[in-house]
């Protein structure tokens, strides 16, 4: 039984052009899939489509089914917002790329995390306050951060707070949309390790979206390569890295190697 089943998903824009075409993949509970591609390849749109959050004007067709353990499958495409609200947070949620804009600039971080917890777990008062602090502690943030506004903390801390809010909902599926791209190189590895640990501890499934094959290889087991909205290659990380089929994959791979080489101080 799959947690997420995407079947022949097509997303088209206002002009009718297909931004994602006939994409199919599945994710079982606890599984980790990397969705990789150049910018504009449709990978972020796919993530939004899974939650039924496509921007106004974009249309999805095909099928996206979410089925939590012990629950009935729910079709996302064409579903009413009421239906989707029950899934968002509890069954699946997203951590976005840019933590500065993903958090409300006018609300204290603790309130933003607290709201997610209150909604999904129904906690109030001091129980809620304790839950917020422990959710923050889990991502390595102390009490002080709960009272801070987003602009008062560092980029890495903001992203940790966003992760805390998402994970505190105890979703079965966590979608991470380029969660480290906007961060300093030095904190990227920390945040990646944090995600890795949380996903393993909670047994969450992970859909990890990135343009960086090296990053995906760190956290995912399987990889799906997108190019201009079409799936061009898929397989385990080892398969794709050792024997890339498609030119796009090879290009992604060589840029990852070059970066590695440059970091190691060798010639490519």
């Amino acid at each position: 039984m799959n947690l997420l089943t995407v079947d022949m998903l097509t997303i088209s824009g206002t002009d009718g052009r297909a931004l994602v075409s006939e994409l199919s993949f599945a994710l079982s509970p606890g599984e980790r899939l990397g969705l990789i591609g150049e910018s504009g390849s449709g990978k972020s749109l796919t993530a939004l489509a899974v939650l039924g959050l496509l921007p106004a004007g974009l249309r999805a067709s095909g099928s996206i089914r979410l089925q939590p353990a012990g629950g009935e499958p729910t079709e996302v495409v064409g579903a009413a917002d009421r239906t989707l609200r029950r899934l968002r947070g509890r069954v699946a949620t997203v951590v976005f790329q840019e933590p500065l804009t993903a958090l409300d600039p006018l609300m204290r971080i603790g309130n933003q995390v607290g709201w997610a917890i209150r909604r999904t777990r129904g906690l109030r008062g001091s129980a809620l306050r304790d839950a917020v602090l422990s959710a923050l502690a889990e991502v390595g943030l102390d009490d002080r951060i709960a009272r801070a506004y987003p602009h008062e903390v560092s980029g890495g801390q903001r992203q940790r707070a966003a992760i805390a809010a998402a994970v505190a909902c105890r979703p079965a599926l966590l979608i991470a949309d380029e969660p480290t791209t906007a961060l300093d190189v030095t904190v990227q590895a920390d945040v990646l390790a944090l995600l890795d640990r949380l996903v393993a501890d909670r047994g969450m499934a992970l859909l990890f979206i990135s343009h960086d094959l090296a990053v995906v290889a760190r956290v995912a087991e399987r990889v799906l390569v997108l190019a201009q909205g079409v799936a061009v290659e898929s397989g385990t990380v080892t398969e794709v890295v050792t024997a890339p089929d498609h030119p796009v994959t090879r290009a992604l791979l060589s840029s990852a190697r070059q970066l590695d080489a440059a970091l190691d101080g060798r010639q490519p």
Binding site: L51, L53, A56, G57, D81, R85, R86, R88, G89, R90, T93, V94, F96, E98, T101, A102, L103, D104, P105, L106, M107, W115, A116, R119, T120, Y149, H151, E152, A162, A165, A166, C169
Partner: protein, 321 residues
């Protein structure tokens, strides 16, 4: 916050001083003697001399300025050259017309603009949203006095439901008559003002609707109404409040024209009359009161914005650079 209050309050006082100097200089340094207001074209040199002494324009400029500033501190705005009545009490009388007119129109404009602007943003992809948007575009191109004249034509002259102008001699002692006298003027100002406000509310709402934090809230399971209520209102309020400050000042002084259309005895018509009669104490007095009002409103709007946005509270300077 206290440091900011001191700084911003200091700026307010400095602006007031700057404005009073500017007001004084503009009316004196430029050609033309204030005493001319008292004189006919064929005045004799003796008459001119007497008029100058009476007005005080025979004194050196700095002395005139100190005298004026001294009067200001004592809240004495001098006497009109033409009617020889004190300017201060007349301004107070006229504020009883202008202030209710401006405040009611302002409130009405907000009541119209906030829901319309919000819906306009929500419906931005539909033909009816686009139509409201286009109408508000048209609204900012219409001169306010023309709107007033059209309303008078329809509601006063054709339908005869409201008076075409004037204000009851008894003033607010006759509240029914005063209210009906102010209905069309208020409607005129509110309509024109809401056209521009709608556009600000619409763009602030669009910014919020496209924001990442709203998407985050939705991804965590909030309904769009809930997300808008929790995050949208506050975020959209900031930019709108700063515009409201400017708009309130504009309304207060923008009633000048509308008072003319409806022949209302307000501050604006006092200013126009003063300018036509070269009655310098009247011009100065009205402009000074207007200046204080505008600057104080600006001060309050800045404070309100700062209370709404924690990012401004921490920054050392309120101004963008």
């Amino acid at each position: 916050m206290v440091r900011y209050l001191v700084r911003r309050g200091g700026l307010l006082v400095a602006s007031l001083l700057f404005a009073s100097v500017a007001l004084f200089l503009l009316l004196r340094v430029l050609p033309g003697d204030p005493a001319n207001a008292l004189l006919t074209v064929d005045a004799t040199p003796e008459q001119i001399e007497a008029a100058r002494r009476q007005v005080g324009s025979d004194r050196p400029l700095p002395e005139q300025f100190v005298t004026w500033l001294g009067q200001l501190v004592r809240l004495d705005l001098g006497r009109s050259f033409v009617s020889t009545l004190p300017v201060g009490p007349e301004i107070t009388d006229r504020l009883a017309v202008t202030v209710p007119l401006a405040l009611t129109a302002f409130a009405l404009a907000i009541v119209i603009a906030v829901p319309v602007g919000y819906l306009c943003a929500r419906w931005s992809r539909t033909w009816y949203g686009a139509t409201i948007s286009a109408l508000s575009q048209l609204g900012i191109a219409v001169p306010v006095f023309w709107v007033g004249m059209l309303l008078v034509f329809v509601f006063a002259l054709r339908l005869r439901v409201f008076p075409s102008g004037g204000f009851p001699r008894a003033g607010w002692a006759d509240p029914g008559a005063a209210l009906t006298a102010l209905t069309l003027p208020v409607l005129t100002v509110a309509l024109v003002m809401s056209a521009s406000l709608i556009r600000y509310v619409r763009s602030a709402t669009l910014d919020v609707l496209h924001s990442d934090y709203l998407r985050t809230a939705r991804a965590l399971g909030a309904s769009s109404a809930e997300a808008m209520w929790r995050h949208g209102l506050r975020n959209a309020a900031g930019p709108v409040v700063s515009i409201l400050g400017i708009e309130l000042a504009t309304t207060f002084l923008g009633t000048v024209v509308v008072e003319s259309v409806f022949a209302l005895p307000g501050l604006g018509s006092m200013l126009v009359k003063g300018i036509m009669q070269h009655d310098y104490p009247v011009i100065q007095g009205v402009l000074f009161v207007s200046t204080v009002t505008v600057l104080v409103i600006g001060f309050l709007a800045d404070l309100a914005q700062r209370l709404l946005d924690p990012r401004l509270r921490r920054a050392s300077s309120g101004r963008s650079r």
